[in-house]
Symmetry: C2
Subunit: 204 residues, 2 copies
DNA sequence: AGTCTTCTGTACCGACTAGTACACAAACCC
DNA sequence: GGGTTTGTGTACTAGTCGGTACAGAAGACT
C-alpha cells in the first residue's frame, strides 16, 4: 500500500532550498500583510526562491496560501485544540483566551491572527480565500460550542446557559483580541481582556 | 470672514453627477471589499464617473477613502456617540453593542464595519490607511474608557473596576462582532453576543 | 458674439500583478 | 559516456494597477 518507505530516492536535480523553511517564510508574510497584500514578488524574495521553483513546489498563490494556513493551524494556532481539553468550561475559556493573548503578541511572529486578518474583506477575485477563512473561524467556534455542550451535560455550566451563544461570544472576543493585537495592544492588555471575560463567566 | 454665502455661484461647466451620491457609493464599495480590494475601476463604475472626474472631485484613492471614512463615522457609525450618552455604564454597553449588532447586519449596507475590515492587514504601500483605521479604533475605545471613568466616579461601576480594561474589552467584543458579521452571523446571533456581555457585566 | 473656467471622455502612461516558456544545470540510472 | 528526470534562472506574457494628458463640451460673464 504505502509506496514511499523512508526518504524516497530523489529523482532528477535536487531542490536548492528547504521547502519547510520556505513555507514558514511565506506564512509569516501572509500573516503580516494578508493574502491580497502579499505579492508573488514579496514571496519569492522572502523565500529566497525564484518564481518557477515556487510554482513547481507549491502551486499558485492560492495553493501556497492554503498550505501556509494549514501550517498555521498545526503550529501557532494549536493552542486552540489544547484549550479544549481543559477539564471545565471555564478552564477552556481561560486556556483559550490567555493562550490567544500570548500567541497574538508572540514577538517571534507577526501580530494578530492569520485566520482573522488574512482576508477579512477583499476583492471578489480573492473570495475563495476569504470563504476558506470564514469556514475556519466557524470551525473553531463550533468546536468550542460542542465542548460547552458537554460542559452543560456535566453540570459544569448552568443548565440555563446556551452553549452556542457562549461559544460565539468567546470566538468574538478572540477575534476582537486579534484586531486589537494588530492595532498594537500589548500582551498584558490582551490578558486583561481575557480576565474581564473570566470575571463575568457564568457560574452554577 | 465667511466668503461663501449660500449655494455659491458655480463657475464653469457644472458637474454631471451628484458628489454626495457618488461618495456614498464609494463608501459602500470600500466597506464591502476593503481599501486594497477596491480598484479605481470598481469605483468609477459604481460611482458612474470616469476617472478624471473622480480625481478632480475627490483626489486620489487614499483621499477618497478618507472622505468615505469620514462619512461613515458621521453616518452609519454615529450610534457609538449616541451610546455614550446613556445614563449608566451598563446602559452605554447595551446601547453600544446592541446598536452595533444592528448596524453590522443592516441589510441596507455591506456586512461588518469599515473601520475594522477596511485595511486590517495590507501591503506596506497601504500602511497610512491601515494606521488611520488603527487610530479610529483606539479613538472610540478611549471615548468609552473616559465614559467608564465617569461611571466609576458616579458610583455606577464598582470602585475596583478598571475603566481602561473594560473599555478595551467592550471594544474587542465590538470588533469581534464585526468579524462575525462579515462571516455571516445574523442580527439575532450578534444580539445574543451582546446579551452575554451584559449578563456578565460587573455590578456594584 | 467671444472669453474664461470648469468638467467630461478617450486614450494613454509606467509600474506592477499573477503566471509561464524555455534553455540550462544537477542529480540519478544504465 | 549517454539518457532521463527534475530543479533553476532569465526573460517574457497578458492583464490590471493607480494616475494623467489632452481635446472638446458646457456653462457663466462681459
Amino acid at each position: 500500500m504505502a509506496t514511499s518507505r523512508t526518504p524516497a530516492p530523489p529523482l532528477g536535480r535536487p531542490r536548492a532550498f528547504d521547502a519547510e523553511e520556505a513555507l514558514t517564510r511565506a506564512l509569516r508574510l501572509f500573516w503580516q500583510k494578508g493574502y491580497e497584500g502579499t505579492s508573488m514578488a514579496d514571496l519569492t524574495e522572502a523565500m529566497g526562491i525564484n518564481k518557477p521553483s515556487l510554482y513547481a513546489a507549491f502551486g499558485n498563490k492560492e495553493d501556497l496560501f492554503r498550505k501556509a494556513l494549514e501550517r498555521y493551524g498545526e503550529g501557532s494556532a494549536c493552542f486552540i485544540g489544547e484549550a479544549l481539553t481543559a477539564p471545565t468550561a471555564r478552564g477552556v475559556v481561560e486556556k483559550f483566551l490567555v493562550g490567544a493573548a500570548e500567541q497574538l503578541t508572540n514577538p517571534e511572529n507577526p501580530r494578530g491572527c492569520l485566520v482573522v486578518q488574512g482576508a477579512l474583506s477583499c476583492a471578489t477575485s480573492s473570495d475563495p480565500v476569504r470563504q476558506e477563512l470564514v469556514e475556519r473561524r466557524k470551525g473553531y467556534e463550533k468546536a468550542i460550542a460542542k465542548r460547552f455542550q458537554k460542559a452543560k451535560a456535566e453540570g459544569d455550566l448552568p443548565a440555563s446557559a446556551n452553549a452556542a451563544d457562549l461559544a460565539r461570544y468567546v470566538a468574538a472576543v478572540h477575534q476582537g483580541m486579534a484586531v486589537q493585537a494588530t492595532s498594537g495592544a500589548t500582551r498584558q492588555e490582551l490578558k486583561r481582556v481575557a480576565q474581564v471575560v473570566l470575571d463575568g463567566w457564568p457560574s452554577k
